[in-house]
Subunit: 150 residues, 2 copies
């Protein structure tokens, strides 16, 4: 009879980085959501907040390019964060087409709280990895992300 559950052979799949990446990434995303439950902040929106925090006065297109988010998809994200009171949007003095962003005090507090939650979440989920292994993992992931297009 065929094997059950997690003892089921995966076949060739087991040797591919892509498969394990997809599963691990899904696992981390689900855990992230649980850690941020009731804050209303998701992975993408936390990313936007973090980039604004690190680059006050940055505009929408620059945020999107930094995070790999399409222009079109930025619109809803930005209004979500503006409506929630996390960021303030003003027309750029240098370019009247563009909006520039700052964190509000409320937004700064949300980022600080989010940081603490995410640190705990990663510490919990990655507790079997040593500090060096975590660094190695990040370094390897960055190299994949940075790989040339085909």
């Amino acid at each position: 009879m065929a094997a059950d559950n997690d003892t089921t052979a995966l076949g060739s799949l087991d040797s591919f980085v892509g498969y394990h990446m997809r599963r691990a990434s899904a696992r981390m995303s689900a855990d992230f959501s649980a850690a941020m439950a009731d804050t209303g902040i998701r992975q993408v929106t936390f990313g936007v907040l973090s980039v604004i925090a690190a680059n006050p006065g940055i505009n929408q297109g620059q945020i999107g390019r930094a995070l790999g988010i399409q222009r079109a998809n930025m619109v809803a994200l930005i209004s979500e964060l503006t409506d929630a009171g996390y960021i303030s949007r003003t027309t750029s003095p240098e370019d009247r087409r563009a909006f520039v962003f700052q964190l509000t005090d409320f937004g700064s507090a949300a980022v600080a709280d989010g940081l603490a939650r995410i640190r705990r979440h990663e510490d919990r989920l990655l507790c079997t990895l040593s500090a060096e292994e975590r660094d190695t993992l990040i370094a390897l992931l960055k190299r994949i992300q940075a790989a040339e297009a085909e």
Copy 2:
């Protein structure tokens, strides 16, 4: 002025495994799709085929549990693969509620072709990683996937 493009600081995001995992995983998925273009096979469906190849006679629920796919979502995947002629479905002789699956010859050929494509795709995308680094990466990803629930 705020930094541009990929030189834009990510802030605290840069220190989180989850962020880099999400980006790297998205990158690999997009590359996978390109590699499998015109075959009609996606990451999930290749996963199903691979598990059936490794466990002939396995049933729908077992496939789903091995791959982390919900029962409800298996239905469309299975009919897609059956309709395409990759797998054959028969009622289990042991349990008349269950269907058991086999690859067809056409399905075996598709898996073989897919394997070659995926190997090339990963070799291309991961060419900056040594064989040991690839193994390390897979091992680390597996440990995350296997981490205890909260």
